[in-house]
């Protein structure tokens, strides 16, 4: 009987039991939030599934396309030994992560709430993010120039035997 289940189900009975427990707990948790005192309609389900959809179908394709575009634009530089693309990827990844996490402050999306809570308005976050981003690209560019020079110097130096 177990063999039959395995054939028809596609995995061991433990696989089925484990998933049923996990999914049951998850369904129970969602049902607790769906109480109309705590959520409007199915808004919380939209956010639960929507985050994954936006990540998989918008964010990942967007940064993959940007990366492919940059790779193609810099393809002629790749041959020189120092991969220029990574000198874009590092500042872009750091700056992008800061923006992804702190975009509500960078774009002052909740100034009213912020003022009511802190007594201060949301000021300077956008400027600071831009300054950090500019600094990161500048430093990365400098490191790239240094690395290219070092490599050239090495190439021109006669090899010691």
């Amino acid at each position: 009987m177990i063999a039959g289940l395995r054939r028809r189900y596609g995995a061991s009975p433990w696989h089925l039991a484990g998933h049923l427990v996990a999914l049951g707990l998850a369904a129970y948790a969602v049902s607790r939030v769906l109480d109309p005192r705590y959520s409007r309609g199915l808004n919380v389900v939209v956010w639960l599934v929507g985050g994954a959809v936006v990540h998989d179908l918008v964010l990942v394709p967007a940064y993959s396309v940007l990366d492919a575009f940059a790779r193609r634009a810099l393809a002629h530089r790749a041959a020189r030994g120092v991969p220029a693309i990574n000198h874009l990827r590092f500042p872009a990844a750091i700056s992008g992560a800061l923006l992804l996490v702190y975009f509500p402050l960078v774009f002052a999306r909740a100034d009213g709430n912020y003022f009511r809570a802190t007594g201060h308005h949301v000021t300077g976050f956008g400027t600071r993010w831009l300054a950090i981003t500019g600094g990161l690209f500048a430093v990365s560019g400098l490191v790239y120039l240094v690395r290219v020079r070092a490599r050239r110097a090495r190439a021109h130096r006669p090899r010691a035997r």
Partner: protein, 422 residues
Amino acid sequence: MRLPPAPPGPTRESFWRSPLRGPWLTATLGSLLLPLVLVVGATGFISNAAYQPALGRNALLPPGGVQPFGFGWPASPSWLYALNQGVHVTVGIVAVPLLLAKLWSVAPRLFAWPPVRDPAHAIERLSLVGLVGGAIFEFVTGILNAQLYYPWHFNFVVAHYYGAWVFLAALAIHVTIKLPVMIRAWRGRGVLAPLRADLEHTLSEPYEPGSLAPPQPAAPTISRRGLLALVGSASAGLLVVTVGQSAGGPLRRLALLAPRGQSIVDDGPNGFAVNKTAATAGVTRRATGPDWRLTIAGAERRVLSRQELLAMQQGEHDLPIACVEGWSTTQHWSGVPLRDLAALIQAPPGSVLRVESLQPHGVLRRATLGEAQHTDERALLALRVNGVDLSLDHGYPARIIVPALPGVHCTKWVTTLTWVRS
């Protein structure tokens, strides 16, 4: 039954060309991410326990339901809550790049063809909706809440708490299923060996159908250790601009983007962050003027003016005040020890302390403190901070300051203290 071949595009394995993707990379990223999300999860449940939801009207979650982590919250060490919340928020934020990298490494799986092979595959994919959706939901809601941005129509506390159950339930089954796959990946390639390869020696993992390794890998443009460095530097960047709002000191000036970092550095003895201004709470100068009185009640009942409170023996302590949103700040507080007030009205032994604010509305206008909290010698009805009177925003005429107590329970503008047998 034969399925049609995969249509052109991401459903074909040949669409995915990155030579870095493969079981080793996913196992490594997963094993780095797992301890971080477990720490964030544990500190989250501890935070709920720190509110002592069993006491009075402290509970912010609906009654009943799964809340297995309730225990009496101690008042010592005084930095316990500040540390817990700082870790919860900072580690959560620092884990974001790792989560994105982990999800990138398994992106081909989303488009796997056929979409469903058999019932086992179907139920596994359904649990992955809970895993990925739950993870992103927890990170997004927590991070936006810390910035006071609420673009949704649900109660943050309830949804963030039960969202964690969705995520952790799916995570438990996922780790159980994938552990053998991870071990196989490390057995085959070595745990650290792939990190020794520089760009020139970076090879793709051997292709097997459905293994994440690409059938037609492109030439690498970054090594595996380079990718980990990329993720690590994004995490380090987030750490630098965030941790100062919790660690304080000179690091606060470095917290360039944290909600209560550099932007809240003010001068003056009352120049530290609040989580609600007096104006927002509806507390006016008039209500807190010379007519303000404190009522304390136990076996007896007394009414005290601020002058009378100042005339009592004052306690002075450096204590942190820490917000559930992760930021904290240590200040020098002085005021009447709650123990001395309890003695005045003969509080019953083993009692809890009900604190009420003159703040006219809001769920946090009242709080109930456990015995360990209000009997601690450093527990104060604070009247002054850093040598001056409290400002109105910081709770003038009097506020609660108790070591390791969640910030929102350090009630401001206190009017009534009642010791009741629990």
